[in-house]
């Protein structure tokens, strides 16, 4: 791997960076001030230590006194920290934001155009989803962060699906994108998934996916609706949920939930994991955390889990995601140093280390970094996580897209889709009534 210093890096990207104003920060012999970071407390053992080491090394090299707080997202503590700091106008210089928090506080954040432009110039584009979440109103309000960012592939028990449904997901999505058979991949659609779900259910190993007030629900339902061409609101602010596409997706879901556990309406974000690890579940939509816990607790289950693409619908193939972002508060006293550090963390060398430390849970937002070998090497089964980053024709989205970010944030955080679906499939509400309810909610989201 090429070892490029930050100064060297900035020189090589001089045109773009200078135009954008990335010129480093003043350092003097007595030091370059202090920098406080509030970062997401990673659940993978050892991941925090690696990130801390990288940042502390940077601090020593640049004579910056760095303090790091790893803040858990459990109990919304990271969100609460963001809310409190934005209101107090004091706190960390750099704060990790969960998916929508950068949108909430964008007026109080330092634009990151210079850093983002420099990264893009060197490594190529961020993925479409990262662009949507971080670049708002013509400026980068936050910077895409790989730490904690994850996607929602299907995690399938390949043994159960092969035996009971006659579908070999490993053969459809091998651990090498070049070996994919287009015919097989194209055939992997929601119809095929439903037929498979019916068979594994009959065999006593149902598919499990939450339809409740949690992120997991959004992250498989949003993409499913998208594959039918159903979106709650378009980018111009038109409410588009009342459509034939929505009704078609609902009709599909009504069939699918018959083959799922009845308690999915009470599931939380960890229920997927428990379902898979219990040995009863044959597939879940989840980041590799379910596999990781299975590897720890039931290796025989983990050894049969294959991560792969979502089924295709009439309007293509979509995958859910839940990325993190980094923000620099406008009230920060050492913004230049903060940007310099984030630029450093965005380098391939650093991202390589953090991806390795996260055992592949962190999915980079820079497309080129998906070439990291961890997803090919990690096992069991070998190659089982190769498809954790998008490898094929899936579009990575976050539920709420393509609505304006302020609206999409509410579609997501007020659980519009899971509640609408739950009303129909569990509450007995007629589809058109539930869609009408959703349209009413969306009207309310427009409130300024």
């Amino acid at each position: 791997m090429e070892q490029t210093g930050r100064r060297q890096f900035l020189k090589t990207t001089a045109a773009g960076a200078a135009a954008a104003g990335v010129v480093g920060f003043p350092r003097v012999s007595r030091g370059a001030g202090k920098l406080a970071l509030g970062l997401w407390d990673h659940w993978v053992p050892g991941a925090n230590a690696v990130l801390k080491g990288i940042i502390e090394d940077w601090g020593k090299a640049n004579k910056v006194e760095v303090t790091i707080d790893f803040i858990t997202s459990i109990g919304n503590k990271l969100q609460l920290t963001g809310a409190a700091e934005s209101r107090a106008g004091a706190g960390h210089d750099i704060l990790a934001f969960s998916t929508w928090d950068g949108t909430f506080y964008k007026d109080k954040l330092e634009p990151m155009n210079d850093v983002a432009d420099a990264v893009i110039k060197k490594y190529g584009p961020y993925n479409e989803n990262a662009m949507y979440l971080n670049r708002q109103g013509g400026k980068w309000v936050t910077l895409p962060s790989p730490i904690g960012s994850h996607t929602y592939p299907l995690e399938t028990r390949m043994d159960l699906w092969k035996k009971h449904a006659g579908i070999d997901v490993q053969a459809i999505f091998p651990a090498d994108a070049k070996k994919r058979d287009k015919k097989k991949v194209d055939a992997w659609d929601w119809k095929m998934f439903l037929e498979g779900a019916k068979k594994v259910h009959a065999a006593g190993f149902p598919v499990g996916a939450s339809i409740a007030e949690n992120t997991d629900s959004n992250d498989w339902l949003g993409p499913l609706f998208a594959t039918y061409g159903s979106f709650p609101m378009d980018e111009k602010g038109n409410i588009t949920i009342a459509s034939d596409a929505t009704l078609a997706a609902i009709d599909y879901l009504k069939q699918l939930v018959q083959y799922m556990p009845k308690d999915i309406y009470g599931w939380d974000d960890a229920s997927n994991n428990r379902w898979l690890i219990s040995g009863k579940g044959s597939a879940v939509f989840n980041p590799p955390s379910a596999w990781t816990v299975a590897k720890r607790d039931r290796i025989e289950v983990a050894a049969q889990v294959w991560h792969h693409d979502a089924p295709r619908g009439v309007k293509g193939r979509f995958r859910g995601s839940l990325p993190f972002t980094w923000g620099v508060w406008g009230f920060g006293k050492n913004k230049a140093a903060a940007k310099d550090l984030l630029l450093h963390l965005s380098q391939k060398e650093q991202q390589w280390k953090t991806i390795t430390a996260s055992q592949g849970y962190d999915v980079p937002q820079t497309v080129a970094f998906s070439s990291h070998p961890v997803w090919t090497e990690i096992e069991p089964p070998k190659g089982g996580q190769y498809n954790s980053p998008v490898r094929g024709d899936e579009r990575l989205i976050v539920a709420g897209w393509p609505a304006k970010q302020e609206i999409a944030a509410q579609i997501y955080s007020k659980w519009l889709l899971p509640i609408m679906v739950g009303k129909i499939t569990s509450g007995g509400t007629a589809p058109k009534e539930a869609v009408k309810w959703a349209a009413g909610e969306l009207e309310g989201y427009k409130r300024g």
Partner: protein
């Protein structure tokens, strides 16, 4: 001149300036000492209750981005939302059922423990207080394991006994039942211990006289115990209504307001809007809806107490 002030005047050296002497007199008066002694508490209340309350009112009058004053628009907006009315309904149901059952069970427990010999009382009193002294977030997690949708311990027992399992957290009816049950479990000891203290203050002579008159247990409860506990019952109902309406932990841990928002209370819904959805003014408006409800409850309960004592 009060004896206190006279004493101060007598003790004051002649060289003390008149203004300083007046200050000393003032400080040594009972009311001044009272103010000084309560000042830390007053500061705490101002800092942690009054200021946040006024700030919440201020926030609730702003637009979503907190850039413009919108008057009562947030409140008007909430009144047009179905979800908000569901929250109001759930909050009333949750509070009324939980408070009434806590009061009934607390009274029953207190009466039972009161009849035990002193040594037995201590043990049972201590055991009964366990739910109340445990951190609620922690005990709610315990309850979550009991209700957990896929591997519910309660369902395991039900199936063992030949009953069908229930979707404790996935079905709106059972989810509401579950969160109310946990609140009752948690709050009953507060009523029990308060009623027990009240029972101990009732003169035994009253019961002895009624026994001589041939009153049975039910008559003693109706004509002696309940009237003597009336004010305590009213105060506990008021306190419990305030605390129960503001419940957060139980719902947040067990259901997060689901399924389909059927278990959201004012507190949890305010959190969802204000923090999770980034709309702090609307969240503040939701939480402020609790204030008039509690103010009316407090007015009637306290008026009842005043009337009965006068």
């Amino acid at each position: 001149m009060s004896p206190d002030t006279a004493a101060v005047h007598a003790a004051s050296p002649a060289r003390v300036a008149p203004a300083r002497a007046r200050l000393l007199v003032h400080l040594r008066s009972r009311s001044a000492v009272g103010v000084v002694m309560t000042l830390p508490l007053i500061l705490l209340i101002v800092g942690l209750v009054a200021y946040p309350f006024v700030y919440a009112i201020y926030l609730s009058l702003l637009n979503k981005r907190e850039t413009a004053f919108v008057g009562l628009d947030n409140f008007r907006f909430l009144l047009t939302r179905d979800t908000f009315w569901l929250v109001v309904q759930t909050s009333f149901l949750f509070t009324s059922l939980a408070v009434v059952w806590k009061a009934i069970l607390g009274l029953v427990l207190a009466l039972v423990i009161h009849t035990l010999p002193p040594r037995g009382q201590r043990v049972w009193r201590g055991l009964s207080l366990i739910p109340w002294v445990m951190p609620l977030a922690l005990s709610s997690l315990g309850w979550w394991w009991i209700y957990e949708p896929t591997h519910s311990a309660l369902n395991w027992v039900l199936v063992l006994l030949g009953f069908s399992p229930k979707s404790w957290l996935a079905d709106p009816f059972w989810a509401r039942f579950s969160v109310i049950l946990v609140n009752i479990w948690y709050g009953t000891p507060f009523f029990m211990i308060t009623y027990l203290a009240g029972l101990k203050s009732i003169p035994q002579e009253l019961y002895e006289s009624s026994a001589i008159d041939g009153a049975n247990a039910a008559q003693r409860l109706r004509h002696i115990t309940l009237p003597m506990l009336k004010n305590i019952i009213a105060i506990t109902l008021l306190f419990s209504t305030i605390v129960t309406l503001a419940t957060f932990d139980i719902v947040r841990v067990l259901t997060r307001g689901g399924p389909r928002q059927w278990t959201h209370l004012f507190g949890t819904y305010a959190f969802e809007l204000g923090i999770a959805s980034g709309d702090v003014p609307l969240g503040a408006a939701v939480s402020l809806f609790m204030f008039p409800i509690l103010a009316v409850s407090a007015f009637f309960i306290l008026r009842g107490i005043r009337r009965s004592t006068s």
